[in-house]
């Protein structure tokens, strides 16, 4: 499962995004050029998810550009961005609720499948081999995220915490070069949060890919992140190591509350 992704580069350059009269992003820019866990924090409505949506192609910023490697991706459709190696999880979960966990992850493998519709439909030998190859990858993920007991459960019947885990598994199934996590621990209890935090660290250690993490739990962010970007009203107000962020007066004022 080890993939070395050094040399990966994501550049977000002065993004502007507005919905009617609401300015969501006002010239946000940052850069990632090595494997690191980057947390984006900020008060509710600051525009954190908007950044992820722009990177993954769900929103089109009106101004600015996003470079992934040498490709400009802010004009691309989401599925093309996914194919380039950017995977994400969602704040509200968007899985195939009528399918099993296994099928959800297998579906995520489609971008790595080489057989066409016909071969798959008739289920030729090479299509079977293809399935086995993909299944091995998916089983690795199931093992990694400790989901054996729910492998064959219909996703719609799973608990919220379990679904979040499936969502993470699906993002991993894309074998991304960069992983975007939108509040992976929202609504979880302490035990579940600890599990997810451990998984994030493990993913980072094994895959050595950059992870962009949006999270509200400050304890988690300070423990996990190598670098933190703080945004407020669509603007970046700080960018640095957790230690610096904790003492930055602008951040304390905007987010952590006055002390």
């Amino acid at each position: 499962m080890t993939k070395d992704a050094r040399g990966i580069r994501l550049e977000v350059d002065s993004l502007f995004l507005s919905f009617g009269g609401v300015q969501a992003l006002k010239g946000i820019g940052f850069e990632i050029n090595r494997p690191e866990i980057l947390a984006i924090i900020g008060p509710n409505g600051a525009g954190k998810t908007c950044i992820l949506n722009c990177i993954s192609g769900f929103y089109r910023p009106q101004k600015g550009k996003i470079l992934f490697g040498t490709d400009i991706i802010n004009k691309l459709a989401p599925h093309k961005i996914a194919k380039l190696g950017i995977a994400r999880t969602f704040q509200g979960i968007t899985l195939y609720t009528g399918l099993t966990l296994l099928d959800n992850l297998m579906a995520a493998r489609h971008i790595h499948m080489k057989q066409n519709f016909l071969a798959g439909g008739i289920y030729f030998k090479w299509a079977q081999d293809e399935e086995i190859r993909q299944r091995v990858v998916v089983e690795d993920i199931i093992d990694f995220l400790e989901m054996e007991a729910i492998r064959n459960s219909i996703v719609g019947t799973l608990s919220y915490g379990q679904r979040k885990r499936v969502d993470l598994g699906r993002a991993l199934a894309l074998e991304p070069k960069i992983l975007l996590l939108d509040e992976p621990m929202a609504g979880m209890n302490l035990d579940e949060k600890e599990d997810i935090a451990r998984f994030i660290i493990d993913i980072f250690e094994v895959r050595k890919i950059p992870i962009i993490l949006i999270e509200h739990d400050m304890g988690v962010v300070m423990d996990l992140a190598d670098r933190i970007i703080v945004i407020d009203f669509g603007k970046k107000i700080a960018d640095g190591a957790p230690k610096e962020i904790r003492t930055n007066p602008d951040v304390i004022k905007a987010y952590l509350g006055k002390e």
């Binding site: 199931i142 400790e146 054996e148 064959n152 035990d191 493990d202 250690e205």
Partner: protein, 641 residues
Amino acid sequence: MGKLDKYTATELDSLPKWLRHNAAKYGNNKVAMYYKHKGIWKSYTWQDCYQHCKYFGLGLLKLGLNRGDKVAVIGDNDPNWYWAEYAVQAIGGIILGIFVDALPAEAKFIIENSESTYIIAKDQEQVDKVLNFAHQLPQVNKIVYWEHIGMWNYEDPLLISWEEVEELGKQSEQANPDLFETNIDMANENDYAAFLYTSGTGGLPKGAIHTHKTIIACGKSVQSIFPWSNTDNYVSAYSPGYIAEQMIGVSGGLMVAAHINFPEKPDTLNENIREVAPEFLMFTGRMWESLASMVISGMLNTTKLKKVFYDFALPIGYKKADLELMGKKPNLLLRILYLIAHSVVFHQIKDRLGLVHLRYGVSAGAPLSPDCLRFFRAIGVPMGQALGFSELIAASGHLIGDPPDSETLGRVAPMCEVRITDTNEILVRSDGLFIGYYKDPEATNKARGDGWFHSGDAGTVNERGQLVFWDRVTDLLEIRGGFKFPPQYIEGKLKFSPYILDVMVIGGSDRDFVAAIITIDFDVCCSWAETHRIAYTTFNELSQKQQIIDLVSNDIKRVNRVLSIEQRVKRFINLNKSFDADDAELTRTRKLRRKYIVEKYSKIIDAIYSSQGEYVMDTSVTYADGSNKEVRTNIKITDVD
């Protein structure tokens, strides 16, 4: 495996010798272990197993393990657990197991008490647990782990992976090809081979010392109850740190060369059993009970048609089972009806549970409720109970083919003697009797000073030679007027209710009646509440809903009918939480720690016996990370008429 042929004739007085014998006899022609990993069942032949044990054993030897050193294993049931045991015993070490859910302090106590020099921990979780204290214990030389997830960046000098140990072993073998075999032959049958820690029902756990000889004797004793063969499948479900798994899976399975199957993860056990459909299965009473209540609660939620079939079939099953228990033969009509019921309903249920091929299901550990046994007999699952202790197994059991009297623990085992003292204590003696408790001569003397094991359990042998278990001698309770009652017996009956997870029955010479503290089965009650449109938010709230209280109350009434008047439960409460081993209310084998519970809930118990209708309770809950929280609840006290 020509090289091992010369060993087939040696006397098989230790497990490693048996392993070598099987490897020589079957080589790569027969599978010894199946193990589900990443969704696929993988197999290991006897030859594979022998090689792993050999290299691992030699690796430990090279790391400096001396004969007589103790090695602690903490991890789920995997082939590695079994291999670790055979390997350690082969090079003269002593093995001991720790339950996977032991808290760091509990694990530390056992490792310290046993003076273990090597620790084998499965994965990151267990390694973290052990690293909490390993550096405080100077005798610990190495910690071996066998699962790599999460272990990439650990740089502790104590840590070494299983593969690295095997690699060291391979190097040693090259230098000295017969080293492993010589080591196996150095063992004397009276050498210590394993410490089996008692579950600590009566205080701190004690390490019961077993030699190669007692282990072999215990393994054979299990076979005398259930003669199994090398075509049988067994699913390893319970921790090998516990004697029943030791004597059935680890030694019994080795001696008969059966197929041992290992579940993928502890929580996939039921699914994996279904895939394997084993011939032999050992569960604790509690696991059987949860399986039964799974069926019963499943039937509460099924379609109307299925319910009709089930309601038709079950009474027929009960009738046949009851007749058989009384030693009578069912008449032709009943046999035909049963055949229909079995093929239409029971077979499907057994198929869902993976019990279609089961030739013997045994319940050990804690007594199984007679109702549960009766239920499984009714649906055609051949099962019985056995009695064993960490100090000796098996003392008694329902022999295969015997109709199991559900009120007893079966016949005194063929290789065992039982005596009942004047105080109704059960004494047992056999070749499998443990040598003593490690570093505790006083307890040893008390438990086996006269050559008999003083079990501390009260019971009797009935006229048919079947052992009847009442309770711990010290746990027989009485109420005012000297009326004795066996709390576990009553609890077993109550626990058969699908709505009740755990229950503790209380009394006392200063109390007028028997009362009960109930913990509800949250999952079952949740789905009941859902179908009956009852709103609730937490366990706390659900447990105090009048409708749930009524459900429990009805089941208590049903049980009361079969009890004598003094033994009946007159009043109860639904506790606002489950009993939990992390809160020290249960032992790790999930037995109630009565003294502690009585102490912890003394105020509420007083309230039950005074005539308050409600009690305001503050409970302290310990979370898995060790933190505490106070929870306040109004607990309703309910009379049963």
